[in-house]
Symmetry: C2
Subunit: 125 residues, 2 copies
DNA sequence: CTATATGCAAAAAGTTTGCATCTCC
DNA sequence: GGAGATGCAAACTTTTTGCATATAG
């Protein structure tokens, strides 16, 4: 079995986004002696093929997540438990497109991440 | 004069976002012997005080820009020339809030970046 | 003199690359 | 035997920290 599968499995089992180092740690915890370099190489390849989403965390770390669909979508992530849901954001798509065009921009792409505390993790629940 | 002013000036004169290293280089080019560490320290402080926006570029580098307003806003960035415009995104604010609530999320925060090619940089202009 | 600001260089953190090995064909 | 995959360690890049000096009050 290739390491590609290990990375894929780690991502599949994750609740939200994982950093390369997280994935590395998870796979090794599972008893598979993978190397950090391999994880990065695989992640790059998967990102290039559009198999995973890449989002830079606030502290400069890249985090990855399996794309459920190749279609464009956004995420709603719980800051406490890391649970993430993919959202189909038609409104935002159109808004982004419109605003960009107003300013003369083309080939528009965008990143939208909504971070919140989910019901389960809310302090005053 | 404090180095804070040098950094502020560098940002003020910049067309778009500058990385810490850019700022460092610019100030030194101007003849002022500032240190990289000072630039980072100042930038951190300014960001903490909400004086500058911080946006992570695709390759993990943080870029900074003076905030025109302290209110929440988003950016429209040209992927070619780096020119960025601040947007007031009422639609998105509300959408994010609504979607999050639908999923039972609270304390919602969000990140919205629109990247495109501006008219000036469009290939088939 | 004490506190803050600053610079230099070393240290961290995250990521990439070089190179040898190992496997599959 | 050769191509591609993999692991380890070294190299790199960006950012942070330690420490000594300089400056302000």
């Amino acid at each position: 079995m290739s390491r590609r599968d290990d990375v894929h499995a780690a991502l599949r089992e994750a609740p939200g986004f994982l950093s390369a180092q997280d994935i590395y740690a998870r796979i090794r915890s599972g008893g598979t002696p993978i190397g950090l370099a391999t994880v990065y190489r695989l992640l790059q390849a998967m990102a290039a093929q559009g198999q995973v989403d890449v989002v830079r965390s606030g502290d400069g770390e890249a985090t990855y997540r399996l794309c459920r669909s190749t279609a464009h979508h956004h995420h709603l992530v719980c800051r406490a438990c890391g649970r993430a849901e993919e959202l189909d954001a038609d409104v935002v798509e159109r808004w982004a497109q419109a605003v960009a065009e107003e300013h003369g921009f083309t080939a528009v792409d965008h990143v939208v991440e909504i971070i919140g505390t989910c019901a389960r993790c809310a302090p005053d629940d």
